[in-house]
Symmetry: C2
Subunit: 347 residues, 2 copies
């Protein structure tokens, strides 16, 4: 936890307000909502700090500076790895995991290890040097979201891979080094621990209540209203009850669906719209903050899940993670999600 506001601020009237501990029902993690530690969105402003790149390998015309493309949506007649694409997917040049080889699990005393096989791809979202997804037209964003689906459907055919994670890093503080708008896909040979934990807890909830915990949460959020940012016919964006970070936002389809890649065409169009509108609000309130978004979906080996509900988690990166978080898994969030939602709704 950052001590940003401790010791150096003058006393103020709210000093005695009791912080609230909240539990995120899916992951089980606890969050401390300590609203007196900061109050206004301007308290969180940080530099967007786009990475400085003299040369951008993601711009149209520089196709030979990336590994050969895996897939692209292109103008008719244009050739692979040349101009004429709208969205382009390439392997990461220095991938965290490698596609060739077998898992080869082995041990060394109490230690377990395996080969780092997997997939690490970059989705270049526009041929133009644009730094935010929100600068793209709706049709362009739909194609980005379709490329996510198409890559997941392709990768899950390879039985060596257990899970595919789609995510986006924006700004240096969020881990990006290239500013040209892009996202990434990493497929792993095992189901990641965080995903497994959420699946197990969601399954336990289902076994107990015969209901999807996310469907329940959506109903409760619609009824409570106070944390809803945007709702459309088929999607809802809200600030989660136990938000880890100021202005954290989740986007979920309101009808149950376990896998991102099983969405229908009409859904993708509506998702493009709500994603763009949500990010526009976030960028407007926080002046283009660094952020990550992450798509949580069901592992490949589960054909259809009644208990897990795919969704997108958007986390602005405004506060530092410190010793307390590393030691406990608790987060301290100085911005109550109800206030964050109210501010976002007004934008």
């Amino acid at each position: 936890m950052s001590e940003k506001t401790s010791q150096i601020l003058p006393d103020h009237p709210e000093e005695a307000k009791m912080p609230e501990l909240r539990r995120e029902p899916v992951s089980g993690r606890w969050v401390i909502i300590a609203s007196e530690r900061a109050a206004r969105p301007t308290d969180f402003l940080t530099n967007h700090q786009p990475a400085e790149n003299n040369f951008c390998p993601f711009c149209e015309g520089n196709e030979e500076k990336t590994p050969p493309e895996i897939m692209a949506y292109r103008e008719n007649g244009s050739k692979a790895d040349s101009k004429g694409w709208r969205v382009r997917v390439v392997p990461n040049k220095f991938p965290a995991l490698r596609t060739e080889g077998e898992q080869n699990v082995h041990g060394e005393g109490i230690y377990e290890m395996m080969n780092g096989i997997g997939v690490h791809e970059v989705i270049i979202e526009s041929p133009r040097h644009v730094v935010s997804l929100t600068e793209l037209g709706n049709g362009n964003i739909e194609e980005v979201l379709r490329s996510y689906r198409d890559r997941l459907l392709e990768i899950k055919k390879d039985k060596r891979f257990a899970y595919g994670l789609l995510f986006k890093n924006v700004g240096v503080a969020a881990g990006a080094s290239l500013e040209h708008t892009h996202s990434q896909l990493i497929a792993t040979p095992i189901v990641p621990q965080l995903v497994e934990n959420e699946m197990e807890r969601a399954e336990a909830f289902f076994n107990n209540s015969r209901k999807c915990i996310f469907c329940d949460m959506i109903q409760q959020e619609i009824a409570a209203e106070k944390r809803v940012v945007i709702s459309t016919e088929r999607f809802i964006a809200f600030t989660p009850f136990a938000s880890r970070f100021p202005f954290e936002i989740w986007i979920l389809p309101t009808a149950h669906g376990s896998h991102y890649e099983n969405q229908e065409e009409g859904e993708i169009e509506e998702l493009a719209e709500i994603l763009k509108n949500t990010l526009v609000k976030l960028e407007s309130v926080l002046d283009f903050p660094p952020y990550n978004f992450i798509i949580h979906s069901t592992p490949f080996n589960i054909h259809k899940s009644e208990y897990f509900h795919w969704h997108i988690e958007i986390i602005p990166r405004l506060t530092n993670i410190a010793g307390f978080e590393w030691g406990t898994g608790f987060y301290i969030n100085p911005m109550p999600p109800e206030e964050a939602a109210e501010i976002l709704r007004k934008k």
Copy 2:
């Protein structure tokens, strides 16, 4: 995961090296050791960036700028909240949790919450304006470590608290805002999820093998040698097999002990020595990096545990956490712990 080295580096000969997935046996988390993504310690150098403070409330003579002291080691005859102290413990002026009140667990549909009761204290490690613990004499560091013990022993008498976490944030990137050397203690009304997870897994290992997993790990590390940084009669410092971060280091007592606060006097003296020597090496290799250290100990309500072994985890904060880590709990570490240990040993 940062894309720091991706796309912009020229091809190099090691490009085809297979990354390795390693599992940390206590927490169960997986780490990707991707050694070709960076090679030399200088690749990780960041600014120490001490927080700029014109006025330091932690310096001797400014005692009235902090809340009244809870405890201090003082020269004979000196008064509370005045000069003459060597180590001083004060409440955090803007605490994340508050000492007054009851837990009051309650629900709202599927959501659970409780009052944020707890303890949040600051341990000021020196009356002088010193920015690193390593600038302190051994006797001074012993007193810091004794103050940790004394506060834990006192706080655990209050049955409302389940766990006490001692940690240190150094540098802005690690969450510190004041540069004057200090650490913090937060006591929580519930056992944090990360601690519970480690306890459960260590207990399962014990039930299976009748051995403490940490004792086993220590034996294995001593035999393997390659990850050991320093060993003394009663302590060992090594880079863990599944290090999340470059130059991550754990310090453990070699004889089994479940609670930090149950250490004997002679142990504290030896711990001060190995902690200082380890941090001196880290500061020398990485030019005073931002870092956190966290003491992992057994929850208050367990009198003595055969399966959990207290220890200190030191994590330099050199790389950004990005979407992949947030979505999976996986970490990508470009520095194999065996190489890190070799570099640290030579310093």
